[in-house]
C-alpha cells in the first residue's frame, strides 16, 4: 500500500541484518531498539516566515487546540515524542536582547503547560517540553515534570536548556551576567562553563527529587493510622555552589521513575553536560562524516561520565522542507526566504534538508548505520512539514522495515528501549 501523496521510493539499499527486520520484531528482542523519530514543535514552524504560509495558523498559536492537533498528528505517525520549544526571553533575531521586528512570530506559551494541556488528549506519544534550568527553581521543575508523567501515564520528558543571555537574566533580576555580546559564541568561557555546571547540579536535584519517594511509599495502613511509610521517603540533601535543596519532593515518584531528560548539544562542554545529566542528546551533524564523529564524541563523553556508551540515545536534528515533488520543496524554501525580510537565507544550527520524504528516508537510513539512534525533525512549516513526516516519511520508513507501525510500550522510556531505572534511595530487598 502506498500512502497518498508519496512519491515512488527508490530501491532501498541493503541494510544491516538486524535493521532489515520489521521494527516491531526488533523491539521485542531484549536490548534491541528501533529507529527513533521525533518532531520539534515551535510556533508556526522553524522558518521565520512560516507563519505567512497558506496552511499556517498563526492566529491559533496561543490556543490549546492548536497544540493538541499538532501532537495528535505526530502521534498518528507513531513518532517517539515531540519536543516543544521554549525560552525565557521573547524571540529575537539578536542574541543580546529583544529586536524591533514586527514581521515574525513573537510570543509563546509556557511549554510545560502546553505539554500538560496536550497529555490527556493523546495516548502513546512522548511529550517533552523545553525547560530553562538557569534562573528557575529545580524543585518546581521536578514536581512539574513528575506531574506531567502522572498526567500522561508515563510519557513525560523534559528537554533542559541553559539561558545565558542578559535578556533572560533581566527577567529575573537576581544575578549579573556578562556585558551583552553579539552571539552566544562570544560569551566568556568561564561563564559558559558555570552555566553548564549549574545545569548539571540542577538536573541532579530534579532527578534526586523524582527518586525521593519509593514506589510503594503510600501504604494507607488504617490500623496504625499511617498514610505513608515515611521510611520510604527520603531527604535529598543536595548542597552545591548555586543552591541547596532538602526534599523530599511533594509529588510521589512518577510512573517512569525517571522521566526522560534530553539536551541539545553542539560541542564538547554540552556533550559532557548531557553525559552527566541526560538520557538522550540532540545533536546537529552537517553530513555523514560529521554524524560519525559526533556519535563517537558523545559516546566517549558518556563513558568518561561512568555510563555505558551504548546507553546514550543520540538523535540528530534536521530542519525539513518536504514535498513529494523535490522542485516544489526547493521553491517553497526560496519563497519563504524571500518573504522573511532577512538579508540572508534562513540558516540553522541543524542541517536543512530540502526534498522528498523518500530522500529524507535515504539520509536517515545512511546516518542510522553510523550510530545515530534517531532523528528529531524540525518542520520548517507547520502543519505542512509535520504532515509530510507522519503521512509521507513514516510510512516510507515503515515500508523499509525501519520504523514501528504501532507503539509497543506504554511509556516513553519503553518506546526508546530504556528500562525502568532502580530508585537510588531504595534499599535492596534483604
Amino acid at each position: 500500500m502506498t500512502a497518498p501523496g508519496t512519491t515512488p521510493q527508490p530501491v532501498p539499499q541493503p541494510l544491516p541484518q538486524s535493521a532489515a527486520q520489521p521494527a516491531e520484531q526488533r523491539e521485542s528482542v531484549p536490548g534491541g531498539r528501533g529507529l527513533g523519530l521525533a518532531v520539534a514543535l515551535d510556533g508556526c514552524g522553524w522558518h521565520p516566515a512560516a507563519w505567512r504560509e497558506a496552511e499556517a495558523r498563526p492566529g491559533e498559536l496561543f490556543s490549546g487546540r492548536y497544540w493538541t492537533e499538532l501532537v495528535g498528528e505526530a502521534e498518528h505517525g507513531r513518532l517517539d515524542f515531540v519536543t516543544i520549544e521554549d525560552t525565557l526571553a521573547l524571540q529575537s533575531s539578536r542574541f543580546d536582547g529583544p529586536d524591533e521586528r514586527v514581521d515574525e512570530v513573537r510570543g509563546r506559551l509556557d511549554a510545560v503547560l502546553i505539554a500538560a494541556r496536550v497529555a490527556p488528549r493523546t495516548r502513546g506519544i512522548g511529550i517533552v517540553p523545553t525547560a530553562v534550568v538557569t534562573h528557575t527553581e529545580p524543585f518546581h521543575l521536578s514536581k512539574a515534570i513528575a506531574t506531567l508523567d502522572h498526567v500522561s501515564s508515563g510519557r513525560a520528558g523534559v528537554r533542559v536548556r541553559v539561558a545565558g543571555s542578559p535578556a533572560d537574566a533581566a527577567h529575573f533580576g537576581r544575578r549579573d551576567v556578562p556585558v551583552p555580546p553579539a552571539s552566544p559564541g562570544a560569551l566568556p568561557a568561564e561563564f559558559v562553563a558555570d552555566l553548564f555546571d549549574e545545569a548539571g547540579d540542577y538536573v541532579e536535584v530534579v532527578r534526586r527529587l523524582w527518586d525521593s519517594w519509593e514506589d510503594d511509599a503510600e501504604i494507607r495502613d488504617v490500623a496504625t493510622g499511617r498514610f505513608i511509610d515515611r521510611e520510604k521517603l527520603h531527604y535529598i540533601d543536595f548542597a552545591g555552589r548555586w543552591f541547596s535543596v532538602r526534599g523530599p519532593s511533594i509529588v510521589p515518584r512518577p510512573p517512569q521513575g525517571q522521566p526522560l531528560v534530553t539536551a541539545l548539544a553542539h560541542a564538547d562542554l554540552p556533550y559532557r553536560f548531557a553525559a552527566r545529566s541526560a538520557d538522550l542528546v540532540h545533536v546537529t551533524p552537517s553530513d555523514a562524516a560529521d554524524a560519525a564523529r559526533i556519535v563517537a564524541e558523545v559516546r566517549a563523553a558518556w563513558q568518561a561520565a561512568g555510563r555505558p556508551a551504548a546507553d546514550a540515545r543520540v538523535f540528530a536534528d534536521l530542519v525539513v522542507f518536504l514535498d513529494d515533488d523535490p522542485g516544489r520543496a526547493v521553491a517553497r524554501r526560496e519563497r519563504l526566504d524571500e518573504r522573511s525580510g532577512r538579508r540572508r537565507p534562513y540558516r540553522s544550527d541543524a542541517r536543512i534538508f530540502v526534498g522528498t520524504p523518500a530522500g529524507l528516508a535515504d539520509l536517515i537510513e545512511q546516518w542510522s548505520g553510523l550510530g545515530i539512534d534517531g532523528f528529531q525533525l524540525r518542520p520548517a512549516v507547520l502543519p505542512t512539514d509535520l504532515v509530510a513526516i507522519t503521512r509521507g516519511l513514516a510510512p516510507e520508513l515503515r515500508r523499509r522495515g525501519l520504523f514501528r507501525a504501532e507503539y509497543s510500550a506504554d511509556t516513553l522510556r519503553g518506546t526508546l528501549g530504556l528500562g525502568l531505572p532502580a530508585n537510588r534511595y531504595a534499599v535492596a530487598a534483604t
Binding site: L113, K143, G225
Partner: protein, 461 residues
C-alpha cells in the same frame, strides 16, 4: 430594597457561587474510607472536575504545599501526604473540561513574578479564559530549604513582597494590549506594536525589565484570589483581588467579615460586587438531618484518629506527648510557651496565640462534657460547615448568601474523588430550583461566571 431580607425578593435573589476544593493534604480529608481513591492519579482529578462542571460550579481549586509537613522532626504520616504540581494539573484539566474555572494557589515567596505571570497567562490561554490565582505568602525558612532563594521574610515584609509581586505580575499581564497580535499574512505584519510586552519594574523586592513572552490572555488578567485574614491581607484584597478565600464560614463572623472587606473597597474606587467573599466550607449530607448528623460524627472520628489526636494535642502543648493515651484525659502538665518547635510546614500552629489560655478552655470543655483527649480534639477542631439533608444545606447556603455572610462557598469534600457527587446530584438542583444558582453556564470565562469583569486596561508605557 437594601436593608430588607433580600432572600424574600423573588426574581431578584442574589446568586450563589460555588467552587470545589480538591481534597488532599489537610486534616479534613478522609483517606481511610474504602471509597477514598488516589490523590495523585489524574483520573481522580478528571472525575472531580467533571462532577464540578456537571454541577455548573464556578471553579475547581487546588491548594499548594512546597514542603512535606513534619512533626517532631519527622515527616508527618497521618494525613494524606503528597500532591501533584498545581499548574500542570490545571493545564491538563483544561483539556477535559470546557467551562469550569481552574484556580490554584501559588505562593509569592518561592517564585519570581516573571515566571508566575508567564504560567498563569499561559494557563489562561490554554483554558480559553478560565485561570485563577490564589496569591499567598509563605512564612518559613523550613519551606525555604527546598528553594534557591532559601531563607524567609520577616512577617512585615511578607505582605509587602506579596503586594509587590502581584503588582509586578499585573504589569506583566498588561504589558501586551488586546490586539497586539495581528498575524496578517498578506501584509506580513505579525505584531501591531514593535514594543509589545515591554516592561520595567523596580521596587524594594524586584528589579526586572525586558519583554514579556505571553500575549494578552482571554481574561486579560487571570482572576486574583487572596486568602490572608490580617488587616493587611484584607486591605490587599480590597485593593487588588477579585475574590477572597475566607476562613469565616460561621454565619455571624461571616457577616462581620463580609461587611468589613466590602466596606474597604470604596477606598480603591471599587464597587461591592467587584470583590467576592467565598469562605471555605465542608459539608456532610444525609437523607434526613438526623442521618447527616450521624454521618458527620463518623466523619469526625475518621478525621481524628487516636494518633492524629495526639499530634494535634502536641501542636498546642508544644511538647512530645507521644506516650499520651488519646482515650484518656488531657495531659496534666501545661503547654510549653515560646517558639513553636513541634510542628513545621503547617499554618495551624499559628492559631494558638495563647497556649495556656487555650489549654484552660480545652480542660473546661473536657470537664463539662466528660471528654477524652480524642473527643476534645474532635470537638475543638470541628470544621464541618454544613450538616443536613440536601434541603437543609441548600437552605443554609442560600441564607448565607442572601444575608450577605458570603457570596458563595469553596466546598472541600472529605472523599477523593467522588465526595462532590452527592452534593452535585442533590443540593445543586435545589439551589437551581430556587433560582439562586445557574442552570447552565452563561459565559465562557471564569470572570463571566463570577461576574467580576476585567478592570480597564491601563494605558501602556
Amino acid at each position: 430594597m437594601s436593608g430588607q431580607p433580600s432572600g424574600q425578593v423573588r426574581g431578584k435573589a442574589r446568586q450563589v457561587h460555588l467552587a470545589a476544593h480538591f481534597p488532599g493534604v489537610n486534616n479534613t480529608t478522609v483517606w481511610s474510607d474504602p471509597r477514598s481513591g488516589s490523590h495523585i492519579d489524574f483520573a481522580s482529578f478528571v472525575h472531580f472536575a467533571r462532577t464540578a462542571e456537571r454541577a455548573r460550579f464556578d471553579f475547581l481549586f487546588l491548594a499548594e504545599g512546597l514542603r512535606l509537613r513534619e512533626q517532631r522532626g519527622r515527616i508527618h504520616d497521618l494525613d494524606v501526604v503528597g500532591r501533584p504540581d498545581t499548574f500542570t494539573v490545571l493545564a491538563a484539566l483544561a483539556a477535559v473540561t470546557d467551562r469550569l474555572g481552574l484556580a490554584g494557589t501559588i505562593n509569592s515567596t518561592f517564585n519570581e513574578p516573571f515566571e508566575v505571570a508567564r504560567q498563569f497567562a499561559s494557563l489562561d490561554h490554554l483554558s480559553d479564559g478560565r485561570a485563577a490565582w490564589n496569591v499567598v505568602t509563605s512564612w518559613d525558612a523550613f519551606t525555604g530549604e527546598n528553594f534557591r532563594r532559601g531563607g524567609f521574610l520577616p512577617q512585615e515584609q511578607r505582605y509587602e513582597r506579596a503586594e509587590q509581586f502581584l503588582r509586578t505580575a499585573l504589569e506583566l499581564f498588561d504589558s501586551w494590549a488586546p490586539g497586539d497580535i495581528l498575524a496578517d499574512k498578506e501584509s506580513g505584519v505579525f505584531l501591531r506594536d514593535a514594543a509589545a510586552g515591554s516592561f520595567k519594574h523596580t521596587d524594594s523586592h524586584f528589579d526586572i525589565r525586558g519583554r514579556f513572552t505571553v500575549p494578552r490572555s482571554p481574561q486579560g488578567r487571570p482572576v486574583i484570589f487572596q486568602a490572608g485574614d490580617s488587616d493587611a491581607g484584607r486591605e490587599f484584597a480590597a485593593s487588588s483581588a477579585d475574590a477572597i478565600f475566607s476562613r469565616h464560614g460561621e454565619f455571624h463572623a461571616g457577616r462581620a467579615f463580609y461587611a468589613d472587606v466590602k466596606r474597604r473597597l470604596a477606598r480603591y474606587g471599587r464597587a461591592p460586587q467587584d470583590l467576592l467573599v467565598l469562605p471555605a466550607a465542608t459539608f456532610v449530607l444525609g437523607d434526613t438531618d438526623a442521618q447527616a448528623r450521624e454521618r458527620a460524627a463518623e466523619v469526625r472520628r475518621q478525621q481524628v484518629s487516636g494518633a492524629t489526636a495526639i499530634l494535634l494535642l502536641e501542636q498546642l502543648w508544644n511538647r512530645d506527648l507521644s506516650g499520651h493515651d488519646p482515650d484518656g484525659p488531657l495531659p496534666t502538665e501545661d503547654p510549653l510557651p515560646g517558639e513553636h518547635t513541634i510542628a513545621q510546614g503547617r499554618a495551624s500552629v499559628r492559631m494558638f496565640d495563647d497556649r495556656l489560655a487555650t489549654a484552660r478552655r480545652w480542660r473546661e470543655l473536657a470537664e463539662q462534657h466528660k471528654l477524652t483527649t480524642r473527643e476534645v480534639i474532635i470537638e475543638v477542631t470541628a470544621r464541618q460547615t454544613f450538616v443536613g439533608s440536601p434541603a437543609t444545606v441548600a437552605e443554609t447556603i442560600n441564607h448565607f448568601v442572601q444575608e450577605q455572610a458570603a457570596d458563595g462557598f469553596i466546598l472541600a469534600p472529605h472523599i477523593t474523588p467522588a465526595g462532590l457527587d452527592e452534593f452535585a446530584d442533590t443540593v445543586v438542583p435545589l439551589l437551581q430550583e430556587r433560582g439562586v444558582f445557574r442552570a447552565d453556564y452563561e459565559g465562557t470565562t471564569l470572570r463571566e461566571h463570577l461576574g467580576v469583569g476585567g478592570r480597564p486596561v491601563p494605558a501602556r508605557r
